[in-house]
Symmetry: C2
Subunit: 155 residues, 2 copies
């Protein structure tokens, strides 16, 4: 739980094990920034303004899933999961179980769920991390099961 | 191939079938916007500036995967795949097979790969769409296998 607090160093493949957990700061989702992001990247009525959002399936303004994803990424990158060489995601499975609303305060919790050392490249491996983004009521607004490229500590 | 050109109407579940394809406009990835996005959401050396990116695994500046995802979303939302009620993604599987670089020109191609009508809610279904984002060399920079919520045409 939070390697960073005990040790400010970055983490190599050798330092990780299944079940390790890492937390993050929290971030309040600002309504104006949410709308600006939507106008630039996801211009749909339910992301753009409260009035047009009311009669949609979201029944009110909701963040673009990609805004939630971007905000969650910042929480993870600035949080406790500091991988040597950076957080390099190859991809993963993303879901948005619940809408993110203006004023929600998000936090990211990451847990190592699988570690697969590379057979062909002995200096690296693929680490699967379940990154859960929670709102202020501890409801999951995003789950990203990410595959990260992680290096071994140089000899 | 491109229903929108023949018909400007929005699409209901009834209008979709496996194999249908939809294209988009193209978008040039601006280096400054790429860096700004990274500074806000994914502040890692390989996304922030050319000099610090050089000695990383990316060997030069690369877009945050979330910036590629956001730019791709805009291409899809403003493209031919116009779903009635909007593009409502429940989630999906995302991969970034190749880095997006400053100056790349991206385009999104979407293909319906599965349609599963809901058993409990007869007015809706889940449509799986393979959204491929290509650069100017037709290389895949992102593949998002998205699950969309799509409604039947009201009786």
């Amino acid at each position: 739980m939070g390697l960073k607090s005990e040790s400010p160093q970055v983490l190599y493949l050798d330092d990780l094990c299944v079940g390790q957990r890492f937390s993050s700061d929290s971030h309040r989702m600002d309504e104006n920034r949410m709308k600006e992001f939507a106008a630039e990247f996801d211009p749909q009525p339910f992301h753009l303004d409260e009035a047009s959002a009311r009669d949609t399936i979201f029944r009110g303004l909701a963040a673009s899933g990609w805004y939630t994803a971007a905000a969650a990424m910042r929480l993870v990158v600035t949080g406790e999961l500091r991988i040597a060489g950076g957080l390099v995601g190859l991809g993963g499975e993303i879901t948005w179980p619940k809408a993110t609303r203006p004023g929600d305060t998000l936090r990211a919790e990451s847990e190592i769920v699988e570690i697969v050392p590379s057979r062909s490249k002995p200096n690296q491996g693929i680490v699967t991390v379940r990154m859960t983004t929670l709102n202020q009521n501890r409801e999951e607004v995003q789950v990203f099961i990410a595959k990260l490229l992680v290096f071994r500590r140089p000899a």
